[in-house]
Structure formats: structure tokens, C-alpha cells
Symmetry: C2
Subunit: 201 residues, 2 copies
DNA sequence: ATTTATTTGAAATGAACGTTTCAAAGATAT
DNA sequence: ATATCTTTGAAACGTTCATTTCAAATAAAT
């Protein structure tokens, strides 16, 4: 179906957009937003400066693309983890252990990219703050749903509401990810997870 | 008592060093290390560029001075809180509420400066990483001592060792401070604190 | 008052920053 | 092959960066 006012097709993007974003994400995750220079991104992606600006706008909008890619990556990882879970309570446990694995696999863990972004940029940039608020809202809803189903199945107690437990887990998850930056001892991390979860049982 | 080889005394620093550091700390806490420029520090302290370099070395060493000042400030705050505590378990609770107050008093909370520094710089700069490791060690020892005394007084259960609970509280504290950046609802924050602590009782 | 040693202010340093420019290269449809 | 429109590469843009320089101001001891 050709449109009459569209005469010719231009040269098309030759690079793999998702791959470029994933390369940029590595740098941003490792160094943070402000410590990452445009030169770092040129080096990491192999793209030319002008191609980056052409395809991604400015440094900040590329960063937001990377945040979204990082978010999606962990949403997929999470989905896969949920498939292996015996029940919602077990799903929450597996979730913590998934993060633990990532922490231990990176020799120099840099924590959660989204948590780092919150620490670095929340309440400073409007778009970033919106992203973070939406991410928080979605995470809380996801956890609340999980807790609620766990309570229905009697694997999680009803001492507190699903909403309250979701907020507690959200906070605990951030603390766990922060702690993992300097604590690389698996037994200690396991201990934290167990203690976090024992209040739900 | 004059020393024979010390002939004359030089002009002395005219500014209040602690005040300058506290002004610089405000900026570093608000913007983070990388987003803070030397010009920001000149503006905030009222000192001349060369005076800053003369008295504090480079940007990084001034930052470390600020981290230490921030640490000391909270150590003093903590000591005062401990005086009001009925028992060690209550002391831990008051500690969380102290952080909650700080979070709610800052309209745009920027979290814990030390946690932010970990997020931004851990495993990148050697001196910073040393500072963070020492801060972690001291915090863990402090919490462990508190938990141990709470257990002796039967206000905290002995399901887990004081060391394990200390690590759990350390992790929870960081998560709580991160959460407070975007959650400014006091009831929700109170809920998190209660849930964190109920596992110890 | 003079000497001594330091702080101070203003300007300058060179490097790095994010972003723009623009001619050349290239891919598609005619 | 030609026309069309985008991507690409290299260079340059003006700004801002952390840091240095150095003469002038200053305070204490002689």
C-alpha cells in the first residue's frame, strides 16, 4: 500500500537499536548518568556522535531509553522466575534470589540501575522523576498482587494488608540491592533474605 | 613555649572551617558528587577557588571531609536519640523515626548522603570505597551491640543472632532511606518501620 | 617598621563536556 | 542510472570543567 505523497525511501538505520541501547545501558549502569560522557557512549556503542544524536536525541533521552530497556529486561527475568515458583510466597523468595545471583555474578556490583538513578536524579529532573514514580507504582502493584494471592493461599499471613507488605517488600528490595554493592558474601545475603521474609510467614 | 627553629607565625585561616564544610555538604548532598561543580562550592561557601584548594586540597578530598562531617552529625543525632530510649529495642525504633523526621522535613528528600555516595561511587574510587566499608563496619557493630543488649533484656527474640539481625537492620535502613525519596506519606513510612521491626519482637 | 609566611582574589590554564554542522556516502524507489 | 532523503564521519561549536598561577593583601613575630 503506497502513499502518493511518499516518493522514495531513505537509507535505513544499519545498526541494531536494541544492541546499541544494551551497550549504552552497561556504561550508564556502571558509571551512573553524570559520570558517563558522550565519548564513553560513542566508544561503547561503536556509533558516531551524530548517529547517536540522530537516533536517540540527547544524552538524557538515551539514558531514559536505557532505563526502560533495563526495566524490561528485569520484567522478563521476573516472568521467568515466576514460572518456576511453587506459590506466590515462593515467588517472592525466588525474586530475591534472582537479584542475589546478579549481585554475585558481577564481581564489582553496582546495585540496581533504577535505584541508583533515584539516588542520583530523583526530584531533580522531571522526566526521570516521572519514570521513577511509574516504576514504583508498577512494582508496588506487582508485589501487592503477589502478596494478596499468597494470603489467599494461606502461605502469607494476614497480620498486615497486601498493600502494607508490598510497600515493605519494595523498601526491603532496595535495601537489599544497596547492601549487595559492598557485601558479596552469599551466606550473609541469604541471611538478609530469610529475615526479610520471615515476617510474612 | 617557643621553638627556636620556628621564627614567625603566618597569617591564619579567617573562615570557620566547620561552617564551610557544612555549606559544602549541603550542595554535595543535594546534587551528588559528579553533578556538583567547583563553582557551586565557591558559591555555597563564599570562599575563593584558590582558598578551597589551599585549605581542602581537591574536590574529592573536600567531598570526603563532607562525608565525614555528615557521618559525625548523624552519630551525634543518634547519641541523643539513644538517651531517650527506654531500652535497646526502643532505641532501634527511635532511630528509624529519626530518619523519618529528616525525610519529611526536607520537602524534596535526597536520601542518605552516604547511601547516595555508595550508589554513585562505590567500587570506583579507592578512598571512597574505604570510607564506605569503614562506615558499614561501624554501623554493623553499633547495631549488633544494640540488638545483643535487646536480646539480653528479652525485648528482642533470639531466633537469629545479633550479627544477623544487625545485617538485616543495616539493609532495611538503607531501603527505608531510599524509599523515603519518593514516598513522603508518613503513615506509609510508619507502616514500613513497623513491619521491619516486627520480626525482631 | 620590617620581615616572614600564608591567604586571598582574579585571571588564566588546558582538557573535557554535550551538542551542532555539513559534506560525503549510501540505500531505496523510480 | 538517477533522484531522494537519511545516515555517517570528522571537525568544530561554545561552555564548563577542575585546577593552577601569581601578584596583592594580611597577620604575626621581630
Amino acid at each position: 500500500m503506497k502513499r502518493s505523497f511518499q516518493i522514495n525511501m531513505p537509507k535505513v538505520e544499519t545498526f541494531d537499536r536494541d544492541f546499541v541501547v544494551s551497550q549504552a545501558t552497561e556504561v550508564f549502569h556502571d558509571k551512573g548518568y553524570n559520570a558517563t560522557s558522550m565519548q564513553d557512549l560513542v566508544d561503547a556503542t561503536g556509533l558516531n556522535r551524530s548517529s547517536i544524536y540522530n537516533s536517540f536525541g540527547c544524552k538524557l533521552s538515551l539514558f531514559i531509553d536505557c532505563l526502560e530497556a533495563y526495566q524490561n529486561k528485569y520484567q522478563k527475568k521476573t516472568s521467568n522466575v515466576l514460572l518456576d515458583a511453587k506459590n506466590p510466597a515462593n515467588a517472592i523468595e525466588l525474586l530475591f534470589h534472582m537479584y542475589k545471583s546478579d549481585m554475585l555474578n558481577d564481581k564489582n556490583d553496582r546495585g540496581c540501575m533504577i535505584t541508583n538513578c533515584k539516588s542520583e536524579m530523583a526530584n531533580h529532573d522531571k522526566k526521570i522523576t516521572s519514570f521513577l514514580n511509574l516504576n514504583q507504582k508498577n512494582t508496588l502493584e506487582f508485589l501487592e498482587d503477589l502478596v494478596e494471592r499468597g494470603q489467599q493461599e494461606k502461605h502469607i499471613n494476614t497480620n498486615k494488608s497486601a498493600k502494607e507488605y508490598a510497600m515493605y517488600l519494595f523498601s526491603s528490595l532496595q535495601g537489599f540491592r544497596m547492601t549487595g554493592i559492598l557485601v558479596q558474601n552469599e551466606k550473609q545475603l541469604d541471611g538478609i533474605i530469610k529475615t526479610i521474609l520471615q515476617t510474612l510467614i
